[in-house]
């Protein structure tokens, strides 16, 4: 189980970066949902999910992002994925999500999208 490994780090008043650890699956997807919805409730418009260390993404993990992204978009923000590995990207493509979710190659590109110059 990897639920302890989901960490959040505040970048600005509007932007939070979340790192899910190695696994985002049925064991910890609810923690990701809570992390995101809690951040949205606190007014963070942009949530960057840095997937650099992510080795496995289950459908529940996908759902934790897909089911929460609309709330961010409704207030002019977004959930942005970055550092997505080829295999994780493959799963997103299989579910037709690669064009629907916002995916950036690097954290720097994600930050730029949020209006933050690193």
């Amino acid at each position: 189980m990897d639920e302890q490994n989901i960490t959040g780090h505040v970048l600005t008043d509007e932007t939070l970066i979340v790192k899910p650890g190695k696994m985002l699956d049925n064991n910890n997807a609810h923690v990701m949902v809570e992390t995101i919805t809690s951040a949205q409730a606190k007014g963070y418009k942009f949530i960057i999910i840095d997937m650099a260390g992510l080795e496995f993404l289950s459908s529940a993990g996908v759902g934790s992002i897909l089911g929460t992204v609309e709330t961010s978009r409704e207030i002019g923000g977004d959930i942005i994925l970055c550092n997505v590995s080829d295999t994780i990207l493959h799963v997103l493509k299989v579910l037709d999500l690669a064009g629907f979710l916002t995916i950036k190659s690097t954290e720097k590109e994600a930050l730029t999208l949020c209006g933050i110059e690193s």
Binding site: D25, V33, F56, S64, L66, T87, D96, F100
Partner: protein, 254 residues
């Protein structure tokens, strides 16, 4: 010339799997193994209505015999049991006559890294730790083949999603298990999952999926079987004896 007559001891496999019956069976098996026989015949004539618990008992007995270097032979198989073992891909492993092949040799064949790959089989309860362990075992099996990394990832995802789905929806008891088998045929893998949970045909789920609708509805669950259907080439489901769900999946590559 003196001829030694080797008598194969016989052990009756009970249809009733109460704690007492299983304890008696285990005790009797231990007694027989202590005598170091070449083989033990398991009389399965009472297994007319086979459940996953019977399969679990046979599977565990198979491993106990294997570890003791004793050949397991099934005797008086009912057509129902033959059908269940064949559907689960366990017939060859458990029921075929391996008279000339000692278990140690069979074990060696099972871990042989090249040549015609043997089938893989496992059983596991549906708590998350057991699923993770079973997944690790399956991945080790897959690594014996020269498969593209993305195919291994897809198969890992398929295994995980099916097992997690059984865990979430089959309403299995703590003692219930999933019997899993896999075999490679050319450039395709056939996976079979069997469980004794509530009846559920995964083929009834849709492969259609609209991200916009799911997102607007705030849907966070329920994508697993869609993913499985999209990652596999063929899916079939049967409910056997009104007790066992058997899901067969086929995945091709190349």
């Amino acid at each position: 010339m003196q001829i030694d007559h080797v008598v194969t001891p016989t052990l009756l496999v009970p249809a009733d799997l109460s704690d007492n019956a299983v304890t008696r069976f285990d005790g009797r098996l231990k007694e027989l193994l202590a005598k170091s026989p070449m083989s033990i015949a398991f009389d399965v004539s009472q297994l007319e209505n086979v459940t996953s618990s019977h399969i679990k008992l046979l599977w565990q007995a198979y491993h106990v015999c294997l570890d003791a270097g004793v050949t397991m032979k099934l005797k008086s198989l009912s057509p129902g049991l033959v059908r269940v073992l064949k559907v689960l891909d366990l017939y060859e492993l458990l029921a075929e006559d391996h008279e000339s092949m000692r278990p140690q040799l069979r074990k060696a064949v099972r871990i042989k890294p090249r040549g015609v790959p043997p089938p893989y089989a496992d059983e596991f309860p549906t708590d998350s730790r057991s699923i993770d362990e079973a997944l690790e075992g399956f991945l080790k099996y897959l690594r014996r083949f020269t498969l593209p990394e993305v195919v291994i990832f897809e198969l890992r995802t398929v295994f995980y999603e099916v097992a997690a789905n059984i865990r979430s929806y089959a309403r299995m008891g703590d003692d219930d298990i999933v019997v899993f088998s896999a075999r490679v045929e050319g450039s395709k893998l056939i996976m079979v999952f069997a469980d004794s949970g509530v009846p559920f045909d995964p083929k009834s789920t849709t492969v259609d999926f609209d991200p916009r609708t799911a997102s607007k509805n705030g849907q966070t669950r329920g994508f697993g079987l869609t993913l499985v259907r999209r990652l596999t080439d063929k899916m079939s489901y049967v409910r056997m004896n009104d007790v066992i769900n058997v899901l067969t999946l086929e995945k091709k590559w190349n």
